[in-house]
Amino acid sequence: MTTGTGTKQVFLKELREMARDRRVLQASLIMPIFVIALFVFVMGVVQRAVTEKPEVRIAIVGVTFIDLKEQFPDLNTSNIDLVPTFAEGTALVEEKAAQLVIETTLRTDDDGITITVHRVGYIDSDPLASLALAELKSQVNARNLENIKTVLQENNLPAGLTEAEQVQPENLGKDEGLAGSSIVSLLPYLIVLWAFYGGMSVVADLVAGEKERGTMETLMVSPVRRAAVALGKILALMVVCFIGSLTTLAGVFIAGSIKSPLTENLFPTGLSLGLDAILFSIITLVTLVAFFASMMVSICAYARNIREAQTYLGLLSFIIIMPAIFSQIIGFTGLERATWVLWTPVLNTALAIKDLILGSATISQLGPVWTVNLVLASYFLWSSIKQFRKEEIVLRV
């Protein structure tokens, strides 16, 4: 019997068994789609709330509503509490009954100009308070600008002087299709994560389960090569991991296709993805799932039973999650193109997938990613075959 024939037999048998296993359907198909779809809707709710200026309550010290309307004509007074002292307003902020407490006083500077000072109390960790403070600053800046324009005009000077220097931002990103979505930075993290978790749900049963049930010995007595058994199982697991990661994308497409006011702002430029992005993403994912699948099979071939295998996989998942999480925040550090990042497993793959979706990936970036994944896949394939060739594959139960 050749290794190829045995591999095909083992691969097809494992696929058939997994297709009949509810856990595979749940972990690799249903759960990713459900979780991602739910996640997209939650993101939609958050984005809508932020863009539609959420209602904030403000405590204002020692003025009447008439004074207030004069100072802030745009203010919705129904969200304002008038308090006699700053301390009372502070109490409201601490109780989360208000986001800001504002006390307005007047003072005269050295040039004799009357300056209106708004003392604002807020809690830094309250996101609504930060938004309200930013809005207040923006309104005050706009009024200052208007005052300057008035002074310039009164002195027969052009009002345009207030905008003599301008910033004209131009987004050079290829914000077409999925690349224009605000969830694009999160997508690679989820794809990588489900590539791992999709396989993790079945691999213990696939290898350690055979030991536990007693089918491993039957398999080892047959003339099939041990390398063929290891390779067949790894290939079958790769399929499950791959499906797990692809269903993440399917979840996004399903959630995005549903015409809902919650998700319409999340995909302003649609859901399309370029053919080259799809092709290179698939290649990148195949190398990643080859690494994941061979690593998990190697670990589970060592474990004496399903429980021990699950313990090892649980610990391993933390090692996988950490670089995946780091891929979310690395953009703020300026390290995205650092050499060590390019050669760091999982992190480099998540970043490569993000850049592929954004249309900014280069071969010099993808090369190290594929190399790292394939080298690790080869190492763990070798390790898996070694485990299967040991007597312990039958004895360590």
Binding site: Q9, R16, E17, G214, T218, M220, S222, V224, V394
Partner: protein, 247 residues
Amino acid sequence: MVNTSHLTKVFTDGKKKITAVNSVDFHAEPGQIHALLGVNGAGKTTLLRMLSTVIRPTSGTATLNNFDIHKNAAQVRESIGFLSTSTALYGRLTGREMLDYFGGLYGFSGSELKERVQAAIAQTQAEEFCDQLCDRLSTGQKQRISIARSIIHNPPILFLDEPTAGLDILAAQTVLTFIETARDQGKTIIFSTHIMNEVERLAERITVIHQGEVKGTGTLTDLKSTTGTTTAEQMFLSLISPQEAHA
């Protein structure tokens, strides 16, 4: 046929060395049922695992169907069928799919594979339930599928490791009848057991193993005569613990 020569297996547990099988010699002929008789932990399973090339002997050798277990492991595995109560089935495959799978692993395909599977099903009278998932089969039905799996490649040698342990009387009867049929077909059968009734009913030759060593080998009559006992149980006790046998 099966020949072993000074077959030894030593397991290492940290600094401790445990001799599971110590220089075992025995010989089994085609058309003969050879019983390996011993208590739990005597070394019977380790011996069968070495003969089936699942584990490597520390020293000594054996030939099966004229193939050396060290040099021709693949041919040895093609020559044997292995059955025990601890070898389970794949629960999410049907009996037929299970046989297809193992037939494929033994190198059969196409019409030849179909014929082999059908023959194994017919031989074990598994037609009625072979298309059900193995998880839904009764213990007896599972054992029939296991037997069919062990003979899918029509091996000249059968290893049966305590094949009736844990089975009810009907399922055990199926196995014993299968062993007799296989013997009549000219196969070399080595089965390990500690059940004396099975030894008396089936075994043409017996090798008594205790603490990894052969304590006696020969026909039941020879062994009774050598030990001066009248039953298989007395003979066995006499060989493994002479004091208990005469108590």
